[in-house]
């Protein structure tokens, strides 16, 4: 249902004298917006996300003009030098190479210090935002679309179609995301593992949950009488689904989507950290952490900055999901 309307009671024609005030007419979405507006958590998460989106779209604005790939150390590897950067991982840094300790690095103008190759860590962190945000948003958009489609079909038509979709959902759900991601990605050569591939794999593994969610919403609405009424009035199936059934599923799907962006970003970071996700020279927090693995003990700043950025990003989306859920759930008010 797209709105709950409070009925204006039928008043008798009032003679002279005081009258009771007219009723306020409300809807689910406008109610939700009112709820959201007055919650500080909403503004916090929304502004965080806005800032992150800005950074992702315009990293140059924030990175003080420093090129994250303009590093002190220009490395030769098997005589190949392309854009002053490594092509082929893994390359193990030697202890006596240039990684400036943080205080010295800051004095030298590097706010977050540098990494093992002398690249400005701050610029790297800023530029890495884009990949994580892109992966998070694309995967979520993908699974929500697939979920809405399959879920409404399964829920609305029921029967064989539903069973089939349910079985497929079960199978994919039986494979935990990280494990499945590892298997799939490890089959691809490291140099071919790009953002598109990672997005594709994650969508492939994560779509079932949304399908179940949407299916549940659809089922709960399908039995309501106004769907029967619409059908009796001759509305075509497509229209019934679009106008009546889907809006009901939208609220929980939205809440799920917000939280999922955070979860996906974490998943991608995990996969990249293990080594099956994005690879050097892609700029991603996961890559930064993966590269820094063996040196963290003696150079904690390598962990700190991408870790903080990653956490804040995930935090913002999960917080948004929480706030949306509280605002959209009529029972909690």
């Amino acid at each position: 249902m797209s709105s709950t309307r409070v009925e204006v009671p039928e008043q008798l024609a009032p003679p002279s004298g005081p009258q009771p005030p007219a009723e306020r007419v409300a809807g689910l979405w406008s109610d939700a917006w009112l709820e959201l507006r007055r919650r500080p958590m909403f503004w916090i998460s929304a502004s965080l996300i806005a800032v992150l989106l800005l950074i992702a779209i315009f990293p140059g604005l924030f990175s003080r003009g420093i090129d994250p790939r303009d590093c002190h150390l220009k490395v030769d590897y098997e005589g190949e030098r392309v854009n002053n950067f490594l092509l082929r991982p893994p390359y193990v840094a030697q202890p006596d190479m240039l990684d400036l300790p943080v205080p010295d690095a800051i004095r030298a103008g590097h706010w977050f210090g540098t990494d093992l190759f002398g690249c400005d860590y701050y610029a790297m962190t800023i530029h890495s935002t884009r990949n994580s945000i892109v992966v998070g948003l694309s995967v979520t958009a993908g699974i929500v679309l697939v979920g809405l489609l399959l879920g409404s079909i399964a829920g609305y038509f029921g029967g064989v179609v539903d069973s089939l979709i349910a079985r497929v959902t079960d199978v994919v759900l039986a494979i935990p995301t990280v494990l499945g991601g590892i298997v799939l990605l490890s089959l691809v050569r490291p140099r071919d593992r790009g953002v598109a591939l990672v997005v594709g794999v994650l969508v492939l593994l994560a779509w079932p949950t949304v399908v179940r969610l949407v299916r549940g919403s659809v089922l709960s609405v399908k039995e309501l009488e106004y769907v029967d009424a619409a059908r009796a009035l001759g509305a075509p199936t497509r229209r019934i689904i679009w106008r009546h059934v889907l809006p009901n599923a939208l609220a929980p799907a939205l809440v799920y989507a917000a939280t999922t962006v955070g979860v996906i970003i974490t998943a991608e970071a995990a996969l990249t950290f293990i080594g099956v996700g994005l690879q050097v020279p892609a700029l991603s927090w996961g890559v930064m952490l993966n590269t820094a693995q063996d040196s963290i003990i003696r150079a904690p700043h390598l962990l700190l900055f991408p870790g903080i950025f990653l956490s804040i990003t995930v935090f913002a989306f999960i917080l948004l999901g929480d706030v949306l859920r509280d605002a959209l759930d009529p029972k909690l008010r």
Partner: protein
């Protein structure tokens, strides 16, 4: 449907188990009870000063629409209102002379279940789904009387037999969802009368049931009352049920009692426009009507109760004074209370002729 109301037979005898009151205090005396709910967006004044008395062996029916405050008032008597957001803002509830409001929680608890019991509308959601009915009934004996598990189980079976659940011994091990609606309600009743309470409050006990089952349940309650002499408060919006068992009727509207009288008079000659409207709205099987006669309008939002008489927006008898002056509940005839400025004119109308 109702040509002559068949109100509860006032001459039913009350047999032994309850000796006459030691003192002359009534079984239950509620005075000026007021309950409000303080919510984020306003204060809901659910009960606005109601008073009544209940004697042993008698049945008081509290009649009203949804939102009239009838359930809340009963919950206040039981002391089970969630505070916050609910608050009893004034009034007293005296059980056999003892004031219940203001008692410390641990003392208050001793009355619940033992002296005053309550049953609810939807037995399926009102029973715990993960415990057997035998366990839940037996719990009364284990917690209040210190019985052992085995003893409690035996007592539970005894109770189930008392409320006429067949195969009680086996069914004591079953779960609530395995019973039919009527049987579940019997389980609730068994739980409520387990400790032989003095008062049973029934909050819409038959609303969720089929008509035939309804009759059985009301019959059961009637029997139990005759056996034990307990007082009963029946909360309902169903006029038919009221007619079956009530001795006295209190009609509630917008948190107040607007009419209080014996059952027969309530149906035959109502003394309040609201009651009048209710009686008129009953479809008659012996007359062909072109249209139904509902009371126009809807009950007020309890956050914004109309000034003056709260019923005035919907009243056919209203005059100027009704918009500004709140009518008090007053004696308008022998043993008849009504909260209407013009109760006498309402009384003068006859309900039973064609309108």
């Amino acid at each position: 449907m109702l040509s002559t109301p068949n109100c509860a037979d006032v001459t039913q005898t009350v047999s032994a188990p309850h000796p006459p009151q030691a003192n002359s205090a009534p079984l239950l005396e509620v005075s000026n009870l007021a309950v409000e709910f303080r919510l984020n967006h306003g204060v809901v004044r659910a009960v606005n000063g109601i008073s009544y008395r209940l004697a042993a062996g008698k049945t008081l029916a509290i009649l009203g629409e949804s939102g009239s405050g009838k359930s809340v008032s009963a919950q206040a008597v039981m002391g089970i209102i969630d505070t916050p957001p609910g608050f009893i803002t004034s009034g007293s509830v005296r059980f056999q002379g003892t004031e219940l409001i203001g008692l410390p929680a641990s003392e208050r608890r001793r009355y619940r279940g033992e002296k005053i019991a309550m049953i609810f509308q939807d037995a399926l959601s009102s029973l715990n789904p993960v415990y057997t009915v035998g366990y839940q009934i037996g719990e009364m004996f284990r917690r209040h009387r210190g019985a052992s598990r085995a003893e409690a189980k035996l007592k539970a079976i005894e109770m189930m037999e008392r409320v006429k659940i067949p195969l009680a011994r086996e069914r004591a091990n079953a779960y609530p969802h395995q019973f039919s609606g009527g049987m579940r309600q019997r389980v609730m009743i068994a739980m409520a009368i387990a400790l032989d309470p003095d008062i049973l409050i029934a909050d819409e006990p038959t609303t969720a049931l089929d008509v035939t089952v309804q009759a059985q349940i009301m019959g059961l309650l009637d029997e139990l009352q005759a056996e034990t002499g307990m007082g009963m408060i029946l909360i309902t919006h169903d006029l038919g049920v009221v007619a079956e068992v009530a001795d006295e009727v209190a009609v509630m509207y917008a948190g107040k009692i607007v009419e209080q009288t014996d059952c027969t008079s309530c149906f035959a000659r109502p003394a309040h426009p609201y009651t009048f409207g209710l009686m008129h709205s009953i479809p008659r099987s012996d007359k062909k009507l072109a249209r139904l006669n509902p009371i126009k309008g809807t009950p007020p939002d309890l956050m914004r109760i109309p000034p003056g008489c709260s019923f005035h927006p919907r009243c056919e008898f209203r005059r100027e004074v009704c918009f500004t002056e709140t009518p008090q509940l007053r004696l308008v005839a022998k043993d008849r209370l009504s909260a209407c400025h013009f109760a006498e004119s309402v009384l003068a109308e006859e309900v039973l002729d064609a309108r």
